[in-house]
Symmetry: none
């Protein structure tokens, strides 16, 4: 096992049947790549002892290292632990510390522990236990005399991720100290510019970036430009090149660039609001709480967000935001005038210095020739200034809502003072 | 090959690296299950000839039928076609009709055809061509003298889907006319009860259900119980048994059962509100617009949702909802008293007959010994009645918020009149 490579065996009928999209696989692939561990192959099998046994045995013979996800729960269809224990010729033994932790966990939530949870405290003899901070099934590591190993992880994404980040990566990095350069990424995140226009604008910059690769990844909230060093460069050199590429591209992207890597537009907007000491209020119609939800996904929203009003009905626009009935009658709920009055109204009622108002037609119904589905008006007010813009977003209901929320945050960002050094 | 079963081999470095989430696999699994074809196993391999060859060869030996997705494009890293042609001992030959169709396709778009596209018109000798209405790489079918077969499909989801629906399903149905019954599911969706407690409560009901299988699928919003007939029963008999199993389980699940199959809790709540002619308003603190967002994800929310108020700050609770400053001072924002006043306030201000109010500590900060992170008070008011409950949710900020939103909708559901026949 000179090469730092593992195989993944994903267990679950629901994966083969397509009831569940396997998002664990992609997440795990990225995490392992980031530390220079290659995923050599992935097998997906059902909740059948023979299939799990065959897949794990083949992976151990071929690559010598396997990570299993799924099939670790307390119910009878959870077979991964006994099957892999048998491959390594281990008995399952009750771990007193795990049992005690389980009991305490249930106690804390005021729930009686069901007896079948005892199986969650059973581990293959000699296995290393990786704590699960998010659930009841711990991660397990089994190694044989030839140095081959299997790591068993629960299939629930939050639990799997917590164990990988808390224990598995550390174990793998210690196991393979001399692995090749890591796979490193830098992502530049843009919004409000189509993929083809973006690609054209930076086309001449790309060939000199080799061996870095460049991918354009479009989604409803914008286009990400992903730069990658695929492990052919040592870490320090790869980082230097990614930095230089970032600088060159940034100069071409202007206001369309809002962040990097995992930075979401709400992170950037939140930081700027806090830095400027500005309070924000929201008046949402077609986005129906999506902007409020996104801003409050992160802790810290209480530092700037006073309130949001989801004024889904015309009555609510009048009663809660003070939009004038004549405005609704003469111009309609989806109009520049209504957007402006919504923003003014929510600011007046909350005392916030900044406001976003969104009104539009998310579909599938409610469109007309003059105002087709996707028509959205967004108003942004910051202190004395007001900016109202018209958009026509493509896509279905979910996409129109996502695009409208993203455009609203991007428009607000345009009007926020730039923080020092950003 | 008595059994109607295939293996899937997904080809692409991006799948192993996690750059791309493999949505093809789930889609294909559902489509095949619907016509009674079982996916026995899935392998995911990189763009490496040896790995593709091994995976396809193993699948042919094991199951005799394989569907490959990906690696059919015009670039040098697209290896599936030559590798599988070699396994079946076929030469690649230029197909004149395909070449002509390609030329016309490029012409129609006003683009000169790049020479590397010629490889798209090469097919293994004797292969059946499945037209690709959405792109340049057709689907290909190879069969050997023992009746084993491989179907090659492009990895681009829209193209893969078009070929499956246009040709592949027909071929499989004709090939296995006497295949067993279809794979059928029934999912019972529960919330507010842990997986282990649920499993215990229904444990004695499960053995008699055979050959139906039962899986427990936990997530932040509840536990789904999935009943499956794996094709061993004819369709009518399978449906009868699923129905009987559903009835038996339903009787044990009480108010924890909120829906079936693809039904989301918001669907059920929305239907009941509309059927009862009840209007709803929301006062959200820690969920920050998540409940409003979920309700407005679907069209039709305007039929019952008057307004939602995201009262993130204490000031907003007082100014927009009429919560008394003394209540906040004496009991705190996260208290039964505040939850009650929020629900009363939003109802009074919107005139809605029903209201949900949520106040809690989503974390990671803001917890104390008396009110740790995860502490949430939910008030539900319907006409004259008010029900306020205390919860203590596990998990991180996102999970606490999701669980709180789900619990709030479930509590509302308890208080809504049951529609006729549901």
């Amino acid at each position: 096992m000179a090469e730092a490579a593992v195989e993944i065996v994903a267990v679950g009928n629901e994966l083969l049947l397509g009831e569940t999209v396997d998002t664990n696989a992609a997440w795990l692939g990225r995490r392992l790549a980031a530390v220079g561990v290659r995923v050599a192959r992935r097998a997906t099998v059902g909740d059948t002892a023979a299939d799990i046994r065959d897949a794990v045995t083949e992976a151990l013979e071929r690559t010598g290292a396997v990570i299993c996800t799924g099939g670790l729960g307390p119910t009878p269809d959870d077979l991964t632990k006994p099957v892999v224990a048998a491959i390594f010729r281990r008995e399952l033994v009750l771990d007193a510390a795990l049992l005690e932790a389980l009991r305490r966990r249930f106690e804390a939530r005021g729930i009686r522990m069901a007896p079948n949870n005892r199986t969650q405290a059973e581990v293959p003899a000699g296995a290393t236990i990786f704590p699960n901070p998010r659930g009841t099934a711990p991660g397990l590591l089994l190694e044989d005399e030839r140095g081959r190993f299997a790591i068993l992880l629960p299939g629930v994404p939050a639990e799997m991720r917590a164990i990988v980040d808390g224990s598995v990566i550390d174990y793998l990095v210690r196991r393979w100290p001399a692995r090749p350069g890591p796979i490193l990424h830098r992502t530049l995140r843009t919004t409000g510019i189509p993929e083809s226009t973006l690609a054209e604008r930076v086309a001449d910059l790309l060939p000199p970036l080799e061996p870095l690769t460049v991918a354009f990844l479009p989604s409803a909230v914008g286009v990400d430009i992903r730069l990658t060093s695929w492990g052919g460069l040592p870490a320090a050199e790869a980082r230097r090149r990614l930095e230089a590429a970032d600088l060159a591209l940034t100069a071409r992207l202007g206001g369309h660039l809002y962040g990097r890597d995992a930075q979401d537009l709400v992170d950037v907007v939140s930081e700027r609001l806090v830095a400027a000491g500005l309070s924000l209020s929201l008046a949402e119609s077609c986005t129906g709480g999506l902007i409020a939800k996104r801003l409050t996904d992160r802790p810290g929203a209480s530092g700037f967000l006073t309130a949001g009003i989801v004024s889904y009905s015309n009555e609510a626009k009048v009663a809660l935001l003070g939009v004038r009935p004549e405005t609704l009658r003469d111009h309609g709920a989806v109009s520049v005038e209504t957007a402006r009055e919504m923003a003014d109204g929510v600011r007046a009622r909350t005392g916030a210095r900044a406001a976003i108002a969104v009104t539009g037609i998310a579909g599938p119904d409610g469109g007309s020739e003059a105002k087709p589905v996707g028509t959205v008006w967004i108003a942004v007010a910051v202190d004395g200034a007001m900016d109202v813009r018209h958009f026509r977003f493509p896509g279905d209901r979910a996409e129109v809502r996502e695009r409208a929320a993203q455009a609203a945050l991007a428009l607000l960002l345009e009007h926020l003072p730039r923080a020092e050094g950003s």
